[in-house]
Amino acid sequence: MGLTQQELANIVDVTRQTIIALERGKYNPSLILAYKITLALKKKYIEEVFEIEN
C-alpha cells in the first residue's frame, strides 16, 4: 500500500506505537480497529490483513 506507520495510524486514529504493536503481534485489536485497518489498506476481508495465531 505504501503507507507509513504514521500515515496508517492517522487514518485509523490510533498512535504509531499501536501500529507497531500490531505489526509485532503484541496487541490484539478490537474488531472495529481491525476493520478500519482493513479498509485503510484497501482490503476486502479482515483475514487478508490479520491472522489468528495459535
Binding site: V14, Q17, A21, P29, L33
Partner: protein, 143 residues
C-alpha cells in the same frame, strides 16, 4: 476547554497521576498559572481571609482546567486498555494498604480495649466499594 488545551500535555505514565508538559504552550501555561499564584500570595492589599478565598478559587479553577485536559486527552484503544490495567493495579495496591491500616488500627485499639478505626480509611474503602458496584451495574445495563 477552559484555558489549557489537551494537545499541550501528555498523560503522565510513570510519575503518578496528572499530565506532563508536551509543548512550549504547556510550559507557558504552567509558568503563567504559577506566576498568578505567586502574585496572589504577594500582593499587599488583601487580608488573610481574602487571600485564602482567592487562592482557593484560583486553585479550584486550575484543578478543573487540569481535569478538563485529562478528560479530553486523546487515547486510542490500546492506550485506554493500558491505562485501565495500570489504574486497576494502583487501586488494588491502595486497597491493600487501606485494609492493612484498618487491621493495624483495630489491633492497636483492641489491645487498649477500644474500638476505633480512622473514618478516612473506612470511608475510602466504602467509596471504592460503592464506585465499583455502581460502575459494574451501569456497565451491565449499558454495555
Amino acid at each position: 476547554m477552559i484555558i489549557a488545551k489537551p494537545e499541550w500535555f501528555s498523560r503522565r505514565k510513570y510519575g503518578g497521576w496528572g499530565v506532563n508538559i508536551k509543548t512550549w504552550q504547556g510550559a507557558v501555561y504552567l509558568i503563567c498559572v504559577l506566576s498568578i499564584l505567586v502574585l496572589i500570595q504577594t500582593l499587599p492589599f488583601w487580608n488573610t481571609t481574602q487571600r485564602l478565598i482567592i487562592t482557593g478559587g484560583w486553585l479550584t479553577f486550575l484543578f478543573l482546567d487540569l481535569v478538563d485536559v485529562m478528560w479530553k486527552l486523546k487515547k486510542d484503544e490500546r492506550e485506554r486498555m493500558h491505562e485501565a490495567i495500570a489504574e486497576r493495579n494502583a487501586a488494588w495496591g491502595m486497597m491493600l494498604v487501606l485494609v492493612i491500616g484498618v487491621l493495624i488500627e483495630l489491633l492497636y485499639y483492641g489491645l487498649h480495649h477500644k474500638l476505633y478505626v480512622d473514618p478516612f480509611l473506612i470511608g475510602a474503602l466504602i467509596i471504592g466499594v460503592i464506585i465499583k458496584a455502581v460502575r459494574n451495574y451501569w456497565l451491565g445495563k449499558h454495555d
